[in-house]
Structure formats: structure tokens, C-alpha cells
Symmetry: C2
Subunit: 369 residues, 2 copies
């Protein structure tokens, strides 16, 4: 009896070989481009999967919260960037972390700088968080004077070590074509380079540039001016990345296995046990229709290729409603498993909290050890 035959409720399945191949490919890419590889661990959030990166020589990582930094520090990581602007309410936890590992933080406000400057008993690497066009947060790349002022402020404190300019070009996730991804990626880097030169003129030397987004780091060849990359999603990829042309479906390393509980022949819809609490509510568009992932049938001991035109049209708390083409609809039986390749793997991992490998080994995360 195969492991998949024993699954009785929605389960996040991880294809370890595919994830390891994704890690290897990105590590090689960074090495070839001679940039520092500091992968973002917010996607997998797992000490065990972290080890797969370590086996490829990774020693420096990125996380998105103090909590995540504490978890990975507890699991032996000694050099961590928290890629989230300093939350002044967490100063004490930042202090404790900085006293046991090499810690880098982000600032984008006078309040943020003042707060970490007060941690005089620990040493912190500091990045200025720049908004290079994503319009989420960070100092606007056009506010050159403010960037100079904040650089000067950081340099005034002996416990703070100004490292450089950091951005997340999350707007590449909204690109429709590979050319558009690379154009946004380069635009972000060029804007940081523009700021770096302005700082150099201002007398601030040695400023580094850190960028990080999976689409750009996967697709783009021109890595000039970049000191460091921090992609995260590439470890698993997902339906968004596949549809944007960033990866092949064979690169998608995770799927949620969902038992079929009902079939509705008149509307060619299959209802699965697997809803918003298993997948999250991020979605992609397939032929102009919203779909909460790609749908694959079982193929032996794994999932097969996504079924063209299958749509996860609705998710409620525990139910998923899937519209299937006629031939696949006929093949699916009540009690079968369908596999949903998530729209956005980072959020699916967060809600599912643990993985099963194809050989049924459980891999835990920060959220369920």
C-alpha cells in the first residue's frame, strides 16, 4: 500500500528531489554570477529543509520575522538578515538575537534608527530598506537626500554597521512575461545603483546592493551591480510562477493532496476536502477565470501534469470546488485524491504547517514541531 493510499485528510506533499534540484540550480546561478546567496527561508520555514541549503554551502540566510530568526538561530544558523523593517516593539528580542548570532536588520525611518541605536551592548548590520518601485514599504528611491541623511545617522552610532541598500522588487510577481520580469528586476537594481553612486559622491563608501525576488533571480542574466540576492519562493515555486513563465510545472515541488468527496455531473464539478484553511486564498487567473491553484491527477506515487482547463473555482473553509474537463471528470472517483498545486506556496506552507515527503516522512516547520 503506497503512502498516498493512506492519506485521509488534506496533506501538503513535498517532492524532495524537486526542491533539492531547485536549490541547487539557484545556488549555481548565484555562484556563476559571483553574488552572495542569502536565500529567504520564509517560504519553507523548516529547519530540516534549511539543511538542504547548508549542504549546498549556504551559511547566510534571510527571514521575515524576529520569530523566524529565533527559530533558525535555535537550529544552528549564525548569520541572519531579518528582511522586515525594524519593529520598535521587538527591540528586546532583537538585542537577545544580536548577542548570540551575526544579525542584520532593515531600517527606513528615524524612529527605527534611533531604536536600534539604543542597543549599545550589541552589534548590528544595517540595511536601508529602499522602495525601488514596488510601492509596499521602504524609502522611496527618489528621496536621495533622505537616504543620505539616514546613512549619516546610521554611521553616527558605533554599534551600527551600515551595509548598504536593500530592496524587494515584489512587483516582478505581477509581471505577465519573462521580458517584463527582467525589465522590472533591472530597473530595481539600477535605481539602487543610482542611489549608491549618490551616496559615494556624498562620501559614503562601500555601500552594497541586496535584492531578492524569485522571478528576477530565476530568469534574468544581468546581475551587474548586485552584491547579494535573497530569493525564497524558488525552493518550491507554485502556480503563480508557472503561469508567469518563471518555472516549468516540473519545478513545482509542493501540492496539497485532497480527497474527493462529491461529484456534480451536470456542472462537471468535483468537490474535494481541501479549502481555504489548507491552501490559503491566493489565486491565479487561468483563461480569465480565478483559480485557487492548478489541479493534477495522481500518477503512480506522485502527482501528474496539471489538467488543462481545470479550475479551482471556489474555496470555503474546508471545501474546494473544482471544475474539470469532461474526460478527466469521468476518470475521477469519490474517494480518489486530487492534487492542488498552490497558487502561492509560501502561504500554503504557512497554513498547512508541516510536510509529508513522497516517502511519507514528516517534515516540521516553525509552526508545528
Amino acid at each position: 500500500m503506497n503512502f498516498l493510499d493512506r492519506i485521509d485528510q488534506p496533506a501538503l506533499i513535498l517532492d524532495e528531489d524537486t526542491a533539492r534540484r531547485n536549490i541547487d540550480r539557484m545556488a549555481v546561478n548565484a555562484l556563476r554570477n559571483r553574488v552572495n546567496f542569502r536565500p529567504h527561508f520564509k517560504t519553507h520555514q523548516s529547519a530540516e529543509i534549511g539543511q538542504w541549503f547548508r549542504e549546498k554551502g549556504v551559511e547566510q540566510i534571510t527571514v521575515s520575522s524576529v520569530e523566524m530568526a529565533e527559530y533558525f538561530a535555535d537550529n544552528g544558523w549564525q548569520d541572519i538578515t531579518i528582511a522586515f523593517s525594524v519593529n520598535v516593539r521587538q527591540l528586546e528580542r532583537i538585542r537577545q538575537l544580536a548577542q548570540r548570532i551575526k544579525l542584520q536588520v532593515l531600517v527606513e525611518s528615524a524612529e527605527g534608527i534611533q531604536s536600534i541605536a539604543s542597543l549599545t551592548d550589541c552589534s548590528l548590520g544595517v540595511w536601508l530598506k529602499i522602495d525601488a518601485g514596488n510601492n509596499r514599504t521602504g524609502l522611496d528611491w527618489q528621496q536621495v537626500d533622505l537616504v543620505k541623511e539616514f546613512s549619516d545617522q546610521v554611521k553616527r552610532f558605533p554599534n551600527l554597521h551600515l551595509l548598504g541598500l536593500l530592496t524587494h522588487s515584489g512587483n516582478t510577481y505581477r509581471a505577465q512575461t519573462r521580458a517584463e520580469v527582467c525589465s522590472i528586476f533591472r530597473e530595481g537594481v539600477d535605481r539602487l545603483e543610482h542611489l549608491r553612486l549618490a551616496l559615494e559622491d556624498h562620501g559614503v563608501k562601500g555601500i552594497l546592493i541586496s535584492v531578492g525576488d524569485t522571478p528576477g533571480c530565476t530568469l534574468c542574466d544581468d546581475w551587474s551591480s548586485i552584491y547579494e540576492v535573497r530569493p525564497g519562493n524558488f525552493v518550491f515555486y507554485d502556480a503563480q510562477q508557472f503561469i508567469a513563465g518563471v518555472c516549468e510545472f516540473q519545478d513545482i515541488a509542493v501540492a496539497v493532496a485532497c480527497p474527493v468527496v462529491a461529484k456534480h455531473p451536470l456542472r462537471r464539478e468535483v468537490v474535494v476536502y481541501g479549502g481555504a484553511i489548507h491552501l490559503s486564498k491566493d489565486y491565479v487567473e487561468i483563461n480569465g477565470q480565478r483559480s485557487y491553484g492548478l489541479v493534477a491527477l495522481r500518477d503512480g506515487d506522485r502527482w501528474g501534469a496539471p489538467v488543462p482547463e481545470a479550475i479551482v473555482k471556489g474555496l470555503s473553509q474546508e471545501h474546494g470546488v473544482i471544475r474539470m474537463p469532461g474526460s478527466e471528470f469521468e476518470r475521477v472517483k469519490i474517494g480518489d485524491l486530487l492534487f492542488i498545486l498552490p497558487a502561492h506556496s509560501c502561504l500554503t506552507v504557512q497554513v498547512m504547517r508541516k510536510y509529508y515527503t513522497l516517502t511519507s516522512r514528516v517534515i516540521s516547520t516553525l509552526n508545528r514541531s
Copy 2:
């Protein structure tokens, strides 16, 4: 120092008094209408909050999964309906539950009926799951012959006890006005009543009608033909219910407290630590704009009224971007807490996994004990 001053990362805050008042009001409503009150526990998912229902005389509950039924059975509940069509992969767990508590399940297929019929060593209450217009799952209310056939099938097995017809009119959640809610609610009940009469003609007597949705049970006065109601969301309500006119904002019992980490004066946007992993990605529409909740400022030891025109315009994994009107924007400082009243409280509870009361007591759920 108030408890709220110590919050350093996104926290789900529960106003116990408001939740208890919501429970009391719905219990009284059911009592006055002389229907069986079997509240859905999928919203709060907490043994402790379950006790607040028990104090109001509730002995029978609804859950949305076998896992949740096991949790509440472990916490002393002896009469549980799993309001999710039987998943044939979980037969063994259903058997074990039925051997220790009074268990009701839903069926909507021949496969489902056959599978539970095989559990000859336990007794199960059986509801036929009917789709009365929501178009998610269930036997279409117009398929009268199929409903008769399935009734006959269930009655053939001595371990199965046919209870009646059950629907979830989830389409009331999409209604825009109170009148529309009540019209959909009554339409669902009337369609079940139509089926009930058809079954009676067919010789199947004693069929009960079970419905359950918070909007309908909150707003509608005509409860005729109804044996049982199973609302769940009402315990906390949320932004969706407020905007649809189902509740007042004073009835919303949960909010996510989020530290402010950045301010962007040019676009009047505040960035908080609080993203998709804290709120989920359900949203409401406010003046035609998507918002992932309502935004309130702190008012003493609690949150205040929602700020009109404040929009949670974007959520990434950990960040929330909030657009504020000018006067409130000025009041908010980096390091303050903002309170986001969730778009959909059921999903927010699921991602946050535990509550803090206003007096800082931690209340655990199924997902984090």
C-alpha cells in the same frame, strides 16, 4: 502597563464580553423561535469558548471536520454533527467517534451511503446534504427522485438513522441587503420543505429540516418549518457581516493587533506588521475598493470604532499596507498598534490559532493547545 502595551507582534485579540453577548443573543433567538440550536464550532475552534456555549444550555454542536469532532469529543462534547459530506477515506475515524459519542454525518452520494452502511458496529444519525441554491455541494433540491432514492437507501440499513434534510445557504454571505439575506434564507428553507413534503408523500415520515448560516439566523424572523439551526460565525462576526448589515461594529468580537512599522506621508499609507499569515486573504469591498478588513485605532484598553475610509489595501506574507484619511494618519505613530477587524473571522482564527482576551489570558484552539 496595560497588556496591549506589551504586544510585540500580531496578536488576535478577543473581547470576551462581546462574544458572550453574541452567544446569548443567538441562543435566545433560537429558544424564542422554538428551534433546536446546534451552533457551528468551526469559527472559534476552542474548547474554552465551547464552555461559554455550554453555560447557555448548549449540548449539541456542529463541526466541519472529523479532526474537529475528535477535538471536541475529547473535550466532553457528546452530541456532534460533522457538517461535511462523508469522506470515505476517514471511515475508520468516523467509526471510532461513533463508538464514543452520538454522531451525525452528511451524505450526498451512493458511495457515501454505502461506506457508512459498512460500519455495522456503530449507530449513525444521517442527514441528506441538500444544495438549496448555494451551488457548492449537496444533492440539488430539484432532484426530487434522487432524494427519494437516497432516503430509501439510508433507511435500508439498521445502523443508519435518517434524520432529515440539511443545507447551508452560504449564498446569504453574498447578499447585499438585509432583505436579500432573508429572501435567500427563506428560499432555502422553502425548498427543503418542498422536498420534505415530497418525501412524506413517498412514505418517508418524520423528516427534519436543518439550516445554518449567520446572516439568515441573525436577521430573519420567519423560522417556520425549521427544526434546527447551525450558525457559527455569529460568535465573533466580522467585517463582511458588518458591511452586509448583519451586525453592528460593536458586535465584532475579534481584532488583530498590529504594530506600526512605517509611515508614508505622500501616499498617506501606514505599514503594519500583520499580513496574509495573520489575517488570511479574504476581503471586503469599501467604496468599491478591496480591503482586507476594517481598521480601528486603539481606544484605551480596547479598539475603537472603525476609521471611515481606512482601507487595508495590500497584504503580503507579513506586511499590511493601510491607507488612512489625513487626520487619523497624523495621529498614528511608528510603534503604535492598529487593530484590523478581519474580513472573515473564521479564517483569521484559523491562521492565528490562539486568542488573547483583553485581560491577556491566552485561549487555545484545536490548532495550538
